[in-house]
């Protein structure tokens, strides 16, 4: 027995784009729409919004584009600490230089601080948090992570410092202790 069907009203422009999508996928509009709506209900059952789902996909692409990789945090912290214990100066230089590289990369963007913020969102994936505030003559930045080790906190702070140095800032204040980073940056040359 054929299944009962109903009709849903959709914006014409949106519907036309779905028709094009169906053609690209070499599927019927009926099949394409069904699949899309089924996935929406699946997201609903998982308790998440579709917007959030698609945003996360963007996040992964962005991370890849920035040369970031996912790493198990315990491994990362232990490796960073190992490097810091055995070769602190060299390890510090690496993180500062990489920060400067990213800073140079962000400086070309239309809104460099926005690009920094996007990177911070990626770097604090997991159980850490950041806050970045542009206060006109100063930028204040905080990062906290209760699982950060001393070595990783130091490394991350140097990465941040490198980024902002390349963007033309200098640290007016710096407070770094295990799990917590607080900076206030001012533009170089500002009095």
């Amino acid at each position: 027995m054929p299944r009962r069907r109903k009709m849903l009203a959709a914006d014409e422009e949106l519907a036309n784009k779905i028709v094009e999508m169906a053609k690209r996928r070499e599927a019927t509009v009926f099949q394409t729409v069904n699949l899309i709506l089924e996935q929406a209900l699946r997201a609903e059952e998982m308790g998440i919004s579709l917007r959030e789902v698609v945003d996360k996909r963007w996040m992964l692409e962005r991370a890849r584009g920035l040369g970031l990789v996912f790493a198990p945090e315990r491994l990362l912290y232990e490796m960073v600490d190992l490097a810091y214990n055995k070769a602190r100066k060299k390890a510090s230089k690496i993180w500062l230089e990489i920060g400067r590289w990213y800073g140079e990369y962000f400086s070309d963007k239309e809104e460099p601080l926005k690009a920094v913020e996007e990177a911070l969102e990626l770097l604090t994936f997991g159980n850490s948090y950041y806050s970045l505030r542009d206060e006109g003559d100063e930028v204040s930045l905080s990062i906290v992570g209760d699982r950060f080790t001393e070595g990783y906190t130091e490394a991350l702070s140097l990465l941040i410092e490198g980024v902002f140095k390349a963007l033309g800032y200098e640290a007016n204040s710096r407070e770094v202790s295990r799990g917590a980073i607080h900076y206030r940056f001012g533009r170089v040359g500002d009095d």
Binding site: L8, A10, A15, K17, I36, M79, W101, S128
Partner: protein, 201 residues
């Protein structure tokens, strides 16, 4: 699809699907048309990124599972530099560290995913989260061949990632038989450990 009133078109869907969507729309206190429009917009957004909504959902779920495993993002270049410096002085220690981390992660996956296809999930994690260019985990319940290709991973990185995978599969009941490692290229063969069965674990 049928033309509706001005600027609208009518999409034909199974009645049951329409009813379920209506329930959700009511819960969210939006009209069915508005709810459907928001869904279609997100589907188009996903399409622009080159994925279907289903793929995006699977990835979202994977990221949440990874977050629970304590995974974070780090600059690849920093990691590679650290690895090559630390590996020279503490290679054995690092290999053990990565193997043990893999073992923990394997146990975490078993706990979190239960009866799901763990090998399939692991393959996707390696592909998406470790940015490998090619990944394959082929075999059956008795034997597994893992192949990895990365055009950016160093020799040390390849070695350590192999140790990590070895640890994961050890937790899933596979013992490493042999491995062949080059810079950015790894082939590792595993055999099911005696006494292990999927049901028992």
């Amino acid at each position: 699809m049928i033309k509706g009133v001005k600027d609208t078109k009518l999409l034909v869907v199974p009645a049951e699907l329409a009813d379920r969507l209506k329930e959700v729309a009511v819960r969210h206190r939006v009209s069915l048309a508005a709810y459907v429009a928001s869904i279609l917009r997100e589907a188009l957004r996903a399409e622009e990124m080159g994925v279907t909504l289903g793929e995006a959902l699977n990835l979202y779920r994977m990221m949440e599972i990874q977050r629970g495993a304590g995974v974070l993002q780090a600059p690849r270049t920093a990691l590679q530099s650290l690895l090559s410096k630390a590996y020279r002085e503490a290679g054995e220690e690092l290999r053990n560290l990565w193997f043990e981390a893999g073992r923990w992660y394997g146990r975490y996956l078993k706990t979190r995913l239960g009866d799901e296809n763990l090998i399939g999930f692991l393959e996707e994690v390696l592909r998406h989260h470790w940015n490998l260019d090619e990944v394959s985990l082929r075999g059956d319940d008795l034997e597994l061949l893992v192949s990895l290709v990365s055009f950016t991973l160093s020799r040390e990185g390849t070695e350590l990632l192999s140790c990590y995978i070895s640890g994961i599969l050890h937790s899933l009941g596979f013992r490493e038989e042999d491995r062949s490692i080059l810079e950015g290229l790894a082939r590792i063969r595993f055999k099911r450990m005696p006494g292990w069965s999927l049901k028992a674990q």
